[in-house]
Amino acid sequence: MSVELLIEQLLNGLQLGMMLFLMAAGLTLIFGVMGLINLAHGSLYMVGAFACAAVATATGSFWIGLVASIAAAAAAGALMEVVVIRRLYERDHLDQVLATFALILIFSEGTRWLFGSFPLYLNIPPLLQGAVPLPGGGRYQLYRLALIGVGGGVALGLYLLISRTRLGMRIRAGESDREMIAALGVDIRTLYTVVFALGAALAGLAGAMVGALQSVQVGMGEPALILAFVVIVIGGIGSIKGALFGAILVGVVDTMGRFLLPKVLALALPPAQAGAIGAAIASMLIYIVMALILALRPRGLFSAQA
């Protein structure tokens, strides 16, 4: 095994982590500010991917599709908040689970109704095709590097938004004391809608960018949703920093597990068997890591509400 391959795999893990971060950031923001468990976050990811694929096919431009995906997911998110979610803030988590579970069913079948039963086509833009040389030899795919860049950029942007802007101040205030900021004259209903739409837009962005690598199809959101939940729980719910750290941890652990476990087992077992057992353990690995972390730190690594 060469050093270049190891570096490439670490980058693959980092890239997977950055994509998970985009999903997880919105989820953790919504939970932190509104205290809402949103199972339908994966549906917003799917909306982003479908919007991007449909618009990119119609216009021939991935970039217009990308803008459309953010707009469509934010609009779907705002609509979802105003029509349904708004009524759930005062309820307990169970009602939120049921309502957003119902939204998953509605969005999945609704999307199939609109776009048909077959997966859609979406490819990476010509500008980002090809690979670039890495320092120290080896090459890495440009699009995946761009994904890492976008993830990092969004993390920085969110940090600045929350620590430096008026909206961010209100979000922080909303996290710590809801009644107080309402008493201070902040329109809390609008604030919630804006935060929800922001989280949705991030999910839509993730859906569009991952959609270019994967299959744009109904049901694509739920696996991403489960992973995003793992991420925010590891990181500490409500913490953007925790989401970033958790996402990178999950991305790297998952990728390296898939890559290394069969090789390690192959030292002791015949290859076919080592492959199968290694793959089985690799698929359980992130959940094992999550259980270990929560057993040691029951509120995740960077809990915002300690």
């Binding site: 795919q141 270019a212 299959s215």
Partner: protein
């Protein structure tokens, strides 16, 4: 008097001749019409309905229900179709794990089941059943064909499949006929969407070819990421990731890929030409292999109904087993385990008039059966 007698004899013989047609027949179709795998089920259902319509047999009634790709739901629907709708025959299931859930109990109740797609090895071998007819393929077939074909050009193949029974059957099938060495063998996670780690290993392995079996969205994701990665080792695979339902989503990344199947839309026979034309005219799209297999299943049923009453189980099973219909796959007969003996072709993905599709370039096997028929004691 004589006249009346003749008339009544004519009338009598007409009823006898018409008997096979005049009796209503109910066919239960359980298939996947919602969720990510709905495309396969929709193609299967559309072709089935069209074939029944074209056959002119007005006495066939279809009961179609969506299994949402959930085994427990499929079992419940099967119970309903048998106990409540009182269907005479069943068909429609796309996925192996759903077939394994439904088929054993259906055939045990003496209902004939015809598989239009899945062919798990358990049902082909020791657990074969006189009421189970597979009109599609045994699961190993396409992979065996690819292993056979790979011998021609390649000596060092990298193989990968998901870590579940169909995935293991696939790699076993490939290795059964492949004589070269393996550059690597990877089992991926079920439902995995990111293949960067696997592609990096393929690049690193020094392989001269890659064989993969990743059905549904997994295959689309793999092909796109493989093409984007710039690795240009030739790719081989069974037809599932290069079928007409997914090709548009894979895009030009699929161009030139060799894949194995028992059917292609350019297969040169009369029945196939009619089928492709009729399907295109009705649904404004090219049919997939699922549509083709389903079309054959429907026509097989129609041919058997013309010979025997569905109520006379023995005669009806014999009529099915004769496979006296014009298959779109050309020559088609049933093996001793009631699985197909058919040619398996190698196809290449090409672009015709701006549409991605397949064209036959070789025949991997002629009159190919399966490896489990010997274990079937029927």
């Amino acid at each position: 008097m004589k006249k009346i007698l003749t008339a009544s004899i004519v009338g009598l013989s007409m009823t006898v001749a018409g008997l096979a047609f005049a009796e209503p027949v109910k066919i239960g179709v359980i298939t996947t019409l919602s969720g990510g795998g709905a495309g396969l089920g929709v193609d299967m259902r559309d072709a089935f309905q069209l074939a029944i319509k074209q056959s002119g047999n007005k006495d066939i009634e279809l009961v179609v229900e969506d299994d949402a790709q959930k085994p427990e739901l499929a079992v419940q629907i099967a119970d309903k179709m048998i106990q409540s709708d009182k269907v005479d025959l069943m068909t429609g299931i796309i996925w192996s794990n759903l077939a394994m859930a439904v088929v054993p109990s259906v055939v045990a109740q003496d209902i004939v089941y015809l598989s239009p797609n899945a062919g798990p090895s358990a049902l082909a071998g020791a657990k074969c059943n006189k009421n189970y007819f597979n009109v599609a393929y045994q699961n190993d077939n396409f992979h065996e064909a690819m292993g056979q074909y790979a011998n021609k050009d390649y000596k060092k193949t990298f193989i990968l499949a998901p870590n579940y029974p169909a995935g293991k059957d696939s790699l076993t099938g490939f290795k059964r006929y492949y004589k070269g060495e393996l550059a690597g063998e990877i089992y991926t996670q079920v439902g995995q969407t990111d293949y960067a780690a696997e592609i990096a290993q393929i690049r690193d392995s020094g392989a001269d070819s890659v064989f993969f079996f990743l059905p549904g969205g997994m295959g689309i994701a793999f092909m796109k990421q493989y093409a984007q990665s710039g690795v240009n080792i030739p790719v081989l695979g069974p037809s599932f990731s290069f079928s007409q339902d997914v090709l548009p989503a894979v895009g030009d990344a699929a161009l030139g890929v060799k894949n194995s199947a028992s059917w292609s839309h350019d297969l040169d026979n009369e029945a196939n030409k009619n089928f492709v034309e009729a399907f295109k005219a009705e649904y404004k799209r090219l049919p997939s292999i699922y549509a083709a297999q389903s079309w054959d299943t429907a026509n097989l049923i129609v041919s058997a109904l013309a010979k025997a009453s569905v109520k006379d189980k023995d005669a009806f099973r014999a009529a099915l087993k004769a496979a006296d219909f014009k298959s779109v796959r050309g020559e088609f007969t049933f093996n001793t385990n009631q699985h197909p003996i058919q040619n398996i072709y190698v196809r290449e993905v090409v672009k015709e008039d701006g549409v991605l599709t397949n064209k036959i370039i070789a025949t991997a096997f002629e009159k190919h059966g399966d490896a489990y028929a010997d274990q079937c004691k029927m």
